[in-house]
């Protein structure tokens, strides 16, 4: 039987009332509202609409959850951290809450509602903001009290990371074999491959290890959290390279100052890729690698650090020749003019 075909009117409206992009913080929680209205006879069972949330990146589309007739099916990879806020008690409530946000949750979220032959959808773009990084000062490994650790993060355009942020970084693949302070006064480190010889590691399961709450005067490294880039980080070089003080000078002639470690991490997250190590404001020497190649940091990705000693302590000598990473923002370029 053929019923006459008609061109579709927009009988099903779906709307995510949010601006794109949303910028939630790493480790945080995000609520994505989705409203829909069906302009059909009101005696249709309210739960007969099928709600589907999916996550779209450049490479693929993956299902987050599907809800129909009061049943909700959540995909395995979202099982612990996504749920529908009001469904099915409110059958027209398609809002979802995503917790433990990771960097890899950045992408487009689609709310799709289907009822009979009709369907419609709306999208919202999400950019999870911030980065967790391990910080060890020039004086060596495990040398910072809680207070010194907090200051170290502040001096590097960051704050101490929370346990949620370190967990989110771990979920994104972050691995570091050094115990560091977190903002709740605990000391932890993220381990994916427990076979690596990490101190204090007794189990065979990957995860964030914790020493629990520690005394404020105990000393460790620290995990910092940098939220967002406010200015711009750029790389400069010269034929003879720079000593530390030459690097400071070279940045100021460009209307800039040496970047902090936190700023370089944010620049790396924004895609910066430089295969030459450069001075930073805290006298450390690092370089950001986004493209894997053997001659740059041994084929590893991330912000690579040049230590003075093979046991990964100490910073290079002040006379050592390196490039420089400078930072400029509106405020900085005003400031530098008066030097």
């Amino acid at each position: 039987m053929w019923l006459p075909e008609t061109d579709p009117a927009d009988v099903l409206n779906v709307n995510i009332p949010l601006q794109s992009p949303q910028r939630p913080l790493l480790g945080g929680t995000l609520i994505l509202p989705c409203h829909f209205e069906v302009c059909v006879s009101p005696n249709i069972a309210p739960l007969s609409r099928r709600i589907k949330w999916s996550f779209i990146t450049k490479d693929k589309v993956s299902t987050i959850l599907v809800a129909l007739e009061g049943e909700v099916r959540i995909s395995e990879s979202y099982l612990d951290r996504v749920h529908l806020v009001g469904y099915p008690l409110t059958p027209t409530d398609a809002n979802i809450m995503i917790s433990e946000l990771r960097s890899s949750d950045s992408g487009v979220y689609r709310c799709e509602v289907q009822h009979g032959i009709e369907d419609n959808h709306d999208d919202v773009r999400v950019k999870v903001q911030g980065i967790v990084f391990h910080y060890r000062p020039i004086i060596g490994r495990y040398m910072m009290t809680f207070e010194k650790a907090r200051d170290a993060c502040t001096q590097n355009s960051a704050v101490m990371a929370s346990p949620e942020q370190l967990q989110a970084a771990f979920d994104d693949g972050y691995h570091q074999c050094d115990a560091g302070w977190l903002s709740d006064q605990t000391v932890r480190y993220p381990i994916h491959d427990p076979r690596v010889n990490c101190q204090g590691d007794k189990e065979n399961v990957p995860g964030v290890r914790t020493y629990g709450m520690r005394q404020l005067n105990e000393t460790y490294d620290v995990y910092c959290f940098a939220e967002k880039m406010t200015g711009r980080v750029f790389h400069i070089t010269s034929a003879e390279k720079f000593t530390f003080s030459e690097a400071e000078l070279a940045c100021s002639t460009k209307g800039a100052i040496l970047a902090t470690t936190g700023q370089l991490y944010l620049a790396w997250q924004g895609g910066m890729d430089i295969c030459n190590a450069g001075w930073l404001g805290d006298r450390s020497v690092r370089y950001p690698i986004n493209i894997r190649r053997p001659q740059c940091g041994g084929g590893l990705l991330g912000v690579r650090t040049v230590y003075l000693h093979t046991n990964q302590t100490g910073y290079p000598l002040l006379q050592a020749p390196y490039d420089a990473f400078c930072y400029t923002g509106k405020y900085i370029s005003e400031l530098v003019k008066y030097f």
């Binding site: 075909e5 579709p8 129909l68 049943e71 909700v72 959540i74 099982l79 009979g116 032959i117």
Partner: protein, 351 residues
């Protein structure tokens, strides 16, 4: 009690009473431990070849697990994918006896429906715009599954630049130019296919995904270097408004008659246009000439006016003084329209 972490997926089912209150909602966890889904769709072949004016059946077969509850209404939807992953064009939706087709597909598409598991799509009266990738989506309760099928068209890719000369089109100009030559902007796949067929062109042109490329079969210095391998060279995605290049157009079979107007060889452009009109036709476009040359082997060593003011001649059989080495459409540029020098190629209703 089950460890939910062992489940492949978890269904949270709520017992629903007539009056909705907190008390009567009972949460039941149904653990789906079995791997995979109860529903899938497949497509064999996943690439279908047709031609403009022709028909095509895009295959899509539904496979349903016995464990799924029977007699559920399935919904079938076909969409056309675009280069933007977020945008799809609606083609057809069907559920039960309800069917709906959309936009330019209205009246040209229906489901094959040879059996309940057949979701194949039939497209009739195919146009150049129908070229591309189509998604078959089947929804069955909580389950859904999709498969993608490509619709390929027989045809020919040709480069185009306007009277003004090389590199004058932004992307919108390029789209309009192809349209005026009875074509569409070619896809990267179509240009690659043309390159495999021997196409060599040293001017970069827009493609439908917004990239700019050019095909080289004999590497030489001004075309990306002499010692480089042959291939389709690409500039990557370019700014569609700011950047200017030529364009590669694609055209397929046409419904009509392409011919060199007999008995007249020395006309101005205006005389040529009038001559075609007197013959019950109009001046042919560049797309008509390329389609006739490539798809029907049209061969003529006489230069003739075309509707865009260019003068060209199609050589299918290489010979001295025409195109000695290879089949080609010869190009004499855009001469002064007042020159009484050339014949004309016309395009009229089929004979």
């Amino acid at each position: 009690s089950v460890d939910l972490r062992e489940c492949v997926s978890v269904v949270i089912a709520l017992d629903y009473a007539t009056e909705l209150t907190q008390e009567c909602v009972q949460i039941v966890y149904l653990c789906m431990v079995e791997n995979g889904h109860g529903l899938s769709v497949t497509s064999h072949p996943s690439r279908v070849l047709s031609r403009s004016g022709g028909n095509a059946t895009l295959p899509c077969t539904i496979h349903r697990d016995q464990s799924l509850a029977p007699n559920r209404k399935m919904r079938i939807k076909w969409t056309k994918l675009t280069f933007d992953l977020l945008t799809e064009v609606d083609v057809l939706a069907a559920m039960d006896y309800h069917k709906r087709s959309y936009g330019s597909y209205h009246g040209r598409v229906h489901l094959c429906g040879s059996s309940p598991s057949d979701a194949s799509l039939v497209i009739e009266d195919i146009t150049l715009d129908d070229y591309g990738r189509y998604k078959c989506e089947v929804i069955d309760g909580l389950e859904d599954a999709t498969v993608v099928v490509s619709l390929d068209l027989e045809g020919v890719v040709f480069p185009y630049s306007p009277r003004l000369g090389r590199y004058n089109f932004n992307f919108q100009d390029a789209e309009r130019a192809c349209r005026e030559q009875d074509g569409v902007v070619a896809s990267p796949q179509q240009l690659r296919e043309a390159w495999r067929g021997g196409m060599d062109w040293c001017n970069a042109g827009w493609l439908s995904d917004g990239s700019v490329q050019y095909p080289i079969t004999s590497p030489r210095e001004p075309c990306g270097g002499q010692n480089t391998p042959a291939g389709v060279r690409t500039y990557g995605l370019r700014n569609k408004n700011m950047n200017h290049y030529d364009v590669f157009c694609f055209t397929s079979h046409y419904n009509g008659h392409f011919y060199f107007l007999p008995h007249v060889t020395k006309l101005t452009y205006d005389e040529a246009a009038a001559a075609c009109r007197r013959d019950g036709a109009r001046m042919a476009t560049v797309g008509h000439m390329y389609a006739a040359w490539k798809l029907s082997g049209y061969d003529r060593c006489d230069a003739g006016w075309l509707a865009d003011g260019s003068v060209r001649y199609p050589v299918a059989r290489p010979r001295p003084r025409c195109s000695p080495t290879r089949p080609a459409v010869g190009f004499l540029g855009f001469p002064d329209k007042k020159h009484k020098l050339y014949g004309v190629y016309c395009f009229g209703p089929g004979r």
